[in-house]
């Protein structure tokens, strides 16, 4: 009989897989109550380091060509395709899903990457405009990335919700800090391993695991986080993050739909440029 090699689940910060600087872990169980893993119980300092990494990565990622970003997102889908079995096993263990439904979830997640990959070089055409102002001016509005966005995705279905939140955020040039579901974090970490091997530059996506309640407080009060996808938060946590976030006017949004242009547009800012026309 062969003993399986168990995996150590770590954080993903600036392209590396460190343990929490705090040295803390917590135990998670599978849907049948059996020990599953000891993921990191991320600290405030882990979050701060993730924000630094995301902020530093923003300039390069947002100024990459949209075509380039589209190819990188597509590459994530390619890499995930090869890891379907691993994701299915994690979803079955964590969510108690059947292998068949878990597989459908993984395939939907992969297709979501493909959908957003195609949007990278089209969203500006949909969200932007030229504006017929009264006067000798050429006036146009273009959407731009907001900056650093923290994501709290709904926990079930764990992988699909992660991808539904993450893909639109980075498709438009934002960088992200993904806070994994507290009880079902495994897919988030495996997703990080896919991102690390699929041309996504270091720091563009950072993945943290740990206590949601603590992360809500830390994310809400961090002045360098520009936006929050709060779809996965409870009503109480949503109120807290909005109250704390008012200090730097964070853009906090929650969504009902898995795929939409709204998910992209919500984390973009519109810039309007006036230029004189004349000879």
């Amino acid at each position: 009989m062969r003993i399986d090699v168990m995996k150590t689940y770590k954080l993903f910060i600036n392209g590396n897989f460190p343990r929490s600087e705090s040295g803390r872990v917590y135990e998670i169980l599978d849907s049948k109550g059996k020990f599953l893993a000891n993921p990191c119980n991320g600290s405030r300092k882990d979050l701060r380091e993730s924000v630094v990494a995301a902020r530093n990565a923003h300039n390069g990622w947002s100024s990459a060509t949209a075509f380039n970003r589209g190819q990188v997102l597509y590459r994530v889908a390619e890499i995930m395709q090869g890891r379907i079995d691993q994701f299915v096993a994690e979803i079955v263990a964590q969510e108690g899903a059947t292998p068949a439904s878990a597989k459908i979830q993984v395939q939907s997640a992969i297709d979501t990457w493909v959908w957003y990959a195609g949007w990278c070089d089209k969203i500006d055409s949909i969200s932007g405009s030229t504006n017929p102002v009264s006067g000798p001016f050429y006036n146009f509005s273009i959407p731009e990335s907001l900056g650093v966005v923290a994501i709290f995705a709904d926990s079930k279905p764990s992988l699909l919700n992660l991808v539904s939140a993450l893909a639109p955020v980075i498709a438009t040039g934002n960088t992200a800090i993904l806070i994994a579901s507290e009880k079902q974090p495994l897919c988030a970490i495996t997703l990080a391993e896919c991102l690390a091997t699929s041309d996504v530059p270091a720091g563009v996506v950072n993945v943290l695991t740990g206590s949601i309640d603590q992360f809500v407080t830390w994310v809400g009060s961090h002045m360098e986080i520009d936006g929050v996808d709060a779809t996965g938060l409870s009503k109480k946590d949503l109120v807290e993050i909005k109250e704390l976030g008012s200090e730097n006017l964070k853009r906090v949004h929650s969504f009902n739909e898995a795929k939409s242009t709204k998910r992209m547009a919500s984390f973009m800012e519109t810039k309007t440029v006036w230029h004189t026309v004349g000879i």
């Binding site: 504006n131 017929p132 001016f137 006036n139 509005s141 109250e243 309007t272 440029v273």
Partner: protein, 480 residues
């Protein structure tokens, strides 16, 4: 060289009939406030009392919100967009008809020059209604889905710097999208909003669709926190904007916030200097600099600093400061003694922190609230006058050597509302525009506004846009 003095050319205050006392405009009628409290509004150019204004308290706000709710459910939300639009067209036309009256009233109540109210504030306000009138039956093209819905009752709070224009920015899109409105004008400038109430009556607008409650911050707070309100739209200070964001955090209310700014006006060494000088002047002295998107930080390339400053000072020396009702006046009165005190305190910090102050010789009127056009040179990024919004005719001059440094300095602010770029090189302008983190960028121009052009800020300058297709999103459900 001989200089020719300007003869006085005052506009006639008799063009407008100011009542001694105004009520609240609720459900289509002017009504007295429940508690009977009033406050006065004065002409900031001479401190004379213009009228007594009703002070709305919670009971009055309750009535206004109820009126707006009834109008929403019974009338306005059921009316086809095309018909709603016709009311807006009517309002636009009446505003045009009565534009001189509005311009005079605005100048008397606000202190800004008649040239600006006549040529900018009021025509743009009318244009805003005309523009949005046309959207009312075309909302499925607004980018918010095939069948976008209004929120319901919008609570709108506007500032004193562009009273009538801000009213138009708020009310026109709200009505076009099918919302009803309770609007609170600023405490120091309520008169044009109350005259607008008469326009609503003349246009036959159904009762309760527009309600106007006058008062102070407490009135505004009652309005924002009212459970019957679905949408909050606020233009004003970043401090109050943050407080509103916090206050509505636990509610389903959505908010549009247009807040402060510290706009960078970047002048490259290849800029057309004379045009740049005009743009710098309009950027900081338009409306006495009491503009959230003012170009209050001049970033000039180091090698042309001396040449530019010489021309700028010469130009500023020609600015005519004085009676706002005079058609030749460029710079009018500061809106209130409180605002004047704020400007003085911040400008004085420039002296204390070591910047060099310059103002032209100009005689300020003996009564009223006045501040001369002022520039500070030798300003560093850490100075308060480079970081904080002064909201007055005070320009801070900083220098840069490379385009990269210009961007770094321009973006070094929690604000991100506006910026200007002056250069003759198209590629440099577009490169700069791309790098700037600001919502409105003027290239070789400044302080231009249009109903078709989205306006609003990055970072702590606010949430959402006003104007253009983008502005409709803030009033249609689904946008969040």
């Amino acid at each position: 060289m001989n200089t020719f003095e300007y003869a006085p050319a005052p506009e006639s205050a008799a063009l407008v009939d100011i009542k001694s006392q105004y009520g609240l405009f609720i459900n289509g009628k002017f009504v007295a406030p429940k508690a009977g409290k009033t406050f006065t509004t004065i002409n900031p150019a001479n401190e004379e009392v213009l009228a007594k204004i009703a002070y709305a308290e919670l009971a009055d706000v309750n009535l206004a919100v109820t009126a707006a709710r009834n109008a929403f459910t019974k009338t306005w939300s059921k009316m086809p967009g095309a018909e709603r639009g016709k009311y807006l067209f009517r309002i636009a036309r009446i505003l045009q008809e009565r534009s001189r009256e509005f311009a005079v009233l605005e100048t008397l109540d606000n202190g800004k020059p008649i040239r600006e109210t006549r040529d900018t504030d009021i025509p743009l306000a009318a244009a805003h209604f005309f523009y949005h009138a046309g959207w009312a039956d075309k909302l499925s093209y607004a980018g918010q889905g095939d069948n976008p819905k209004p929120y319901g009752v919008a609570a709108q709070i506007i500032p004193w710097n562009f009273p009538m224009l801000m009213l138009a920015w708020k009310i026109a899109p709200a009505l076009a999208t099918g919302n009803t409105v309770v609007l609170k004008p600023a405490e120091t400038t309520p008169l044009t909003a109350l005259l607008f109430a008469e326009v609503c009556q003349q246009a036959g607008l159904p009762a309760g669709v527009v309600n106007i409650v006058t008062g102070d911050g407490a009135t505004g707070s009652h309005l924002v926190n009212h459970p019957g309100v679905d949408k909050v739209a606020f233009t004003g200070s970043t401090g109050v904007g943050k407080a509103i964001a916090k206050a509505i955090a636990g509610t389903k209310k959505s908010a549009t916030l247009e807040l402060g700014g510290k706009g960078a006006n970047i002048v490259y060494d290849d800029a057309p200097i004379d045009e740049a000088v005009e743009g710098i002047v309009s950027g900081i002295f338009f409306n006495q600099g009491q503009v959230c998107c003012a170009g209050s930080r001049l970033l000039v390339q180091e090698n042309i600093e001396d040449e530019l400053l010489e021309k700028l000072k010469k130009r500023i020396s020609l600015i005519r400061v004085g009676n706002p009702m005079d058609k030749n006046t460029d710079l009018g009165a500061i809106n209130s003694s409180a605002q004047l005190a704020r400007i003085k305190e911040l400008a004085d910090s420039g002296d204390i922190e070591g910047a060099q102050r310059w103002s032209p010789n100009c005689v300020l009127p003996s009564s009223g609230f006045w501040y001369p056009p002022t520039i500070f040179t030798g300003v560093s990024q850490s100075h308060r006058i480079a970081r904080e919004e002064i909201f007055g005719p005070v320009l801070s001059v900083l220098t840069f050597r490379t385009p990269g440094e210009a961007i770094e300095k321009a973006n070094n602010s929690p604000y991100g509302l506006s910026a200007g770029i002056w250069s003759d090189k198209g590629s440099r302008i577009l490169w700069t525009a791309k790098k700037l983190r600001a919502g409105v960028i003027w290239a070789n121009t400044f302080n231009k506004f249009d109903p078709a052009s989205p306006f609003g800020g990055y970072k702590e300058s606010g949430w959402g846009r006003e104007g253009g297709r983008h502005g409709l999103a803030g009033y249609l459900k689904g946008d969040n």
